[in-house]
Subunit: 229 residues, 6 copies
Amino acid sequence: MPADSTLSKTSSQAYAPDDRNEAVLVHVNGAFVPRHQATVSVFDAGYVCGDGVWEGVRLVDGRIVSFDAHIDRLWEGARSISLDIGLSKDGIKRVVVDTFLRNGMRDGAHARLMVTRGVKKTPNQDPRFIIGGATIVCVAEHKVVTPEAKQNGLKLFTSTYRCSGPDVFDLRLNSHSRLNLIQALIQAIQAGADEALMLDPQGFVSSCNSTNFFIVRGGALWTSSGRYC
Amino acid sequence: MPADSTLSKTSSQAYAPDDRNEAVLVHVNGAFVPRHQATVSVFDAGYVCGDGVWEGVRLVDGRIVSFDAHIDRLWEGARSISLDIGLSKDGIKRVVVDTFLRNGMRDGAHARLMVTRGVKKTPNQDPRFIIGGATIVCVAEHKVVTPEAKQNGLKLFTSTYRCSGPDVFDLRLNSHSRLNLIQALIQAIQAGADEALMLDPQGFVSSCNSTNFFIVRGGALWTSSGRYC
Amino acid sequence: MPADSTLSKTSSQAYAPDDRNEAVLVHVNGAFVPRHQATVSVFDAGYVCGDGVWEGVRLVDGRIVSFDAHIDRLWEGARSISLDIGLSKDGIKRVVVDTFLRNGMRDGAHARLMVTRGVKKTPNQDPRFIIGGATIVCVAEHKVVTPEAKQNGLKLFTSTYRCSGPDVFDLRLNSHSRLNLIQALIQAIQAGADEALMLDPQGFVSSCNSTNFFIVRGGALWTSSGRYC
Amino acid sequence: MPADSTLSKTSSQAYAPDDRNEAVLVHVNGAFVPRHQATVSVFDAGYVCGDGVWEGVRLVDGRIVSFDAHIDRLWEGARSISLDIGLSKDGIKRVVVDTFLRNGMRDGAHARLMVTRGVKKTPNQDPRFIIGGATIVCVAEHKVVTPEAKQNGLKLFTSTYRCSGPDVFDLRLNSHSRLNLIQALIQAIQAGADEALMLDPQGFVSSCNSTNFFIVRGGALWTSSGRYC
Amino acid sequence: MPADSTLSKTSSQAYAPDDRNEAVLVHVNGAFVPRHQATVSVFDAGYVCGDGVWEGVRLVDGRIVSFDAHIDRLWEGARSISLDIGLSKDGIKRVVVDTFLRNGMRDGAHARLMVTRGVKKTPNQDPRFIIGGATIVCVAEHKVVTPEAKQNGLKLFTSTYRCSGPDVFDLRLNSHSRLNLIQALIQAIQAGADEALMLDPQGFVSSCNSTNFFIVRGGALWTSSGRYC
Amino acid sequence: MPADSTLSKTSSQAYAPDDRNEAVLVHVNGAFVPRHQATVSVFDAGYVCGDGVWEGVRLVDGRIVSFDAHIDRLWEGARSISLDIGLSKDGIKRVVVDTFLRNGMRDGAHARLMVTRGVKKTPNQDPRFIIGGATIVCVAEHKVVTPEAKQNGLKLFTSTYRCSGPDVFDLRLNSHSRLNLIQALIQAIQAGADEALMLDPQGFVSSCNSTNFFIVRGGALWTSSGRYC
């Protein structure tokens, strides 16, 4: 899967190139560090086993869109995996706001807030092996969709990889374990498309691998039932 | 989920405490660094979205158990997710061997070799955003099971979290996206057990969350069919 | 599974101890007999193979709550298994009313009306082996929930036993074949909880093993879809 | 579902009429009582909610066929539902042997041994409400298949009722909760057949409602995989 | 399965015998030919592999009922299987109207419009082997339901054949591949019924084999969810 | 889906062009007619609703490969759908042999023998509407795989269309209702592949849309379990 120079047009996650992103400061556990020095331990539960939750938020004209709803979802996700975030909701919102502020962003920016279970005594999947608390990382970048991308749209490919049900892995949990979604996307890319459309366990359309799916059909807007994404 | 001081007796992943582990050198992309300085970028695909594969190998009396089989499985897994390891099989075996050697280990040691898709231009799940090649990390530690653990055995708990089928997420792929297995384990811990027994999609016993499951029944040894683990 | 002296606090079916219950008269096929002499044949289809339907009704201040709805459901259940109750709806209502009256109950009482396929020529599952008609039993007891139980609430445990769909066994049928629900409850008890929460075949929350499930979430009351319970 | 006078020819459970059966003595909790006086409490868990296990054994020329295997299965079933039988294996075998002996049977007889969870304080499904121990009943009867039945064979009907998997209700457990099997049989009878052939959850042939299924196909004997029956 | 002389009373597809039907002209690819000379090639994709879509429309008092809706569904079906009809919607409507007109029908008539992928170079299932365009056939007949049929109703039989989901074969596609529906009907006929009631993959009632299913229950009209038919 | 001039290289059903095929005689219900005059009624059950069974047999050096096995499967399929072929096995074998003979074929030929339920009184799916007996068609053609095709191999594409289980539509039945297999193939073609690989209902590899699937893996030959194809 080689890197692709035309990504700004063909990925659902693409955005216009912006040189300022090379110099952004990243929040790592309370400190702001230059992008290329922002690291986590190889013993971090997020790295070792995808054990964490995250939210992506968008800054538009000085306001973070649906900020409370995002933080509520983060809290509910963390609670569902018994992950102790270690901050109050206000504290975690402060992390995001500060990251935008330290980078002088007011509009056209996007932040990914990642909370993993933290450093472990040894690299395994047992959550009781954590040492200390959660690892909190916030990356903010200048991201606006290119006009061409909007105009061209994206090609979807229906993947053989299915969304999982809540008895397997509840995809309403926004987690660091995304490999089955990545598999769906790889399949789409290999078939010449840009994003994967995924089915639910009964074979009905559910969602795209990294974005929500909407369709206008007969003048009505259809989207997922919300049971599997 | 607080850390637990009696873990050496109650986790399937437990081992006898060994002070030497504090000083081990970790292989990170060709370099050996002290454990507490071993890091990966917060933009690494392993950290951001559990996008990687790994193997755990055991060193017994100077020999790595089933070394070739482990490396073959790593290769097959990487290929199934279009991850370019960037080394030959011999090259990757050298990484493991060197890690044991640099740490002076000859017996009673265990190494976790982790290969993730590498650093990305931005933290998202699209594999086309990688910059450069895979990230290779190898952690070796002194690990022997305590005699008490062997004697006591582990308490299993049948989890409501199921092993997924190959159309959802093939668990025969040894990946960095382990959160549903961790959820099963958390459920087991909360019910007072040590490890989760997981069912397959048809409701039959499949595997434990991090270990294989064997049972002696009527004088015969039973284990998984291998379809879901 | 030993009897438990603290049941009045920990079972969803618990109630305050009431000495009057030792002396209640039970309706058995038209006769009223003391509790300890109330019996059915060992050839009764209810005993041999759980072949019957029942309703539990509550007497509050002289009125039986939702009486018609309960009798309608009993009728529909009996019809779905080709069980001939042998009485009219009014006749069966009279059985319940008489049972409350004979026991001098006006409030705080509960009756379990059981209708099984009747005595069989031999103990097997074939309904054509019945001799004579249905067996009708009605047990009325003084049952009020203890204030402590209401205050403490119950601990729920999510069971690995699933509610079955209508092609296996329609749980909307209130039958004498309850063993899979009992298995779920046993699992809950062994995990230290009081009642089992059961999932539907797709893995979504369905119902408790013997009670309906309601949850207040974001100010709204959620309950089952009614498809599997 | 009216009683049917031609049953000795059309039920898989049929046998030649034998007047001696009217006078058999039934074992009930250690006592031998005439058939028509053999009863259990209406509070018995078997009657109230199908909470029990049973075995059917055949006496041929003084020997009980596969006696140990049947008792082993009873034990395993009881254990799987936490039912304490209250006797040793030898004790329970004595019950069966004594029942045959007291009825002077040496050949052509069949016994149904039923072990339910016992009398409960109130008719509900919670196993913690039992008072005292298990109820043990053993019914022995003279049963030989009529030659006509063997000659005619039985008509099978494929039912829409499915065998359930182990996550719903493991049919390898020989229990008193048989209503879904009875539903399958009723469907077969209403379609003019004698016994129901049931499918497994994947839609493959599994078993008959009360008997095992064998088919000779291309000179080979085929039967169930044993996963669902 | 012998032909049945009482069909006009017992098939959901039955109609009063009408001698005029022997002389109807059939539209075949633009020509009108007598019924008994109306043929298609044995290389036609419809014949070889059920590769086509169709609609049945009813002519009542000079108007075709829901004509646009039927043509829209035909179009959507054809598109979903990449079948190029080769005419505009108006063109295809003209085929139907002309067929009614040429047969002098104004009321009490029914037409089946069939569009198959056309003649192939060789009889296989690969759609790339077509030569030329789609085959269009329109059969119009005088069809009114007999009063007796309406009065008697039809006997339904619940089939073990299930409606398939969209990941197997979307039954909302009105296609020439109907054999699983025919199997369900055969099963119903063999059980003495007239039409099969089919379940969805979860075991809930879905639809009849060739007609929609409606039921009045408690004063309300219930029908399918539309997900599987 | 336009016809494709490079098919002889890219379809699993392709063969070297052979001009003699334009002049073959086709067997239609006992007569031999030139290819372009070989027709069936538009009322034929095969055309109207894919109601028929077929076999493809290969002639190699004067011998028909596995001839008896093919005829046995045809018989079993016909019986499973209550289709009366109207000939003995020898009679149907004669049809095939005669077709090869009349076309002077001795080697490198392939015949498709198609048996449909015959002409119907009206175009519907009810099998009781047949008039007369089955329609028997046999098409023989000169077909050898081109050496290039063998050398190039075929590109497979894993389809989202699944093989169905026996409770939906048993794909071991070689029928004229092939549209879901065609859908899988269309999906493959649109993704740039030549043939579709289809999964079973549990998500495991099952079969290709028109050919069997074999894979050499670790020196062993793997193929389908035979449960879904």
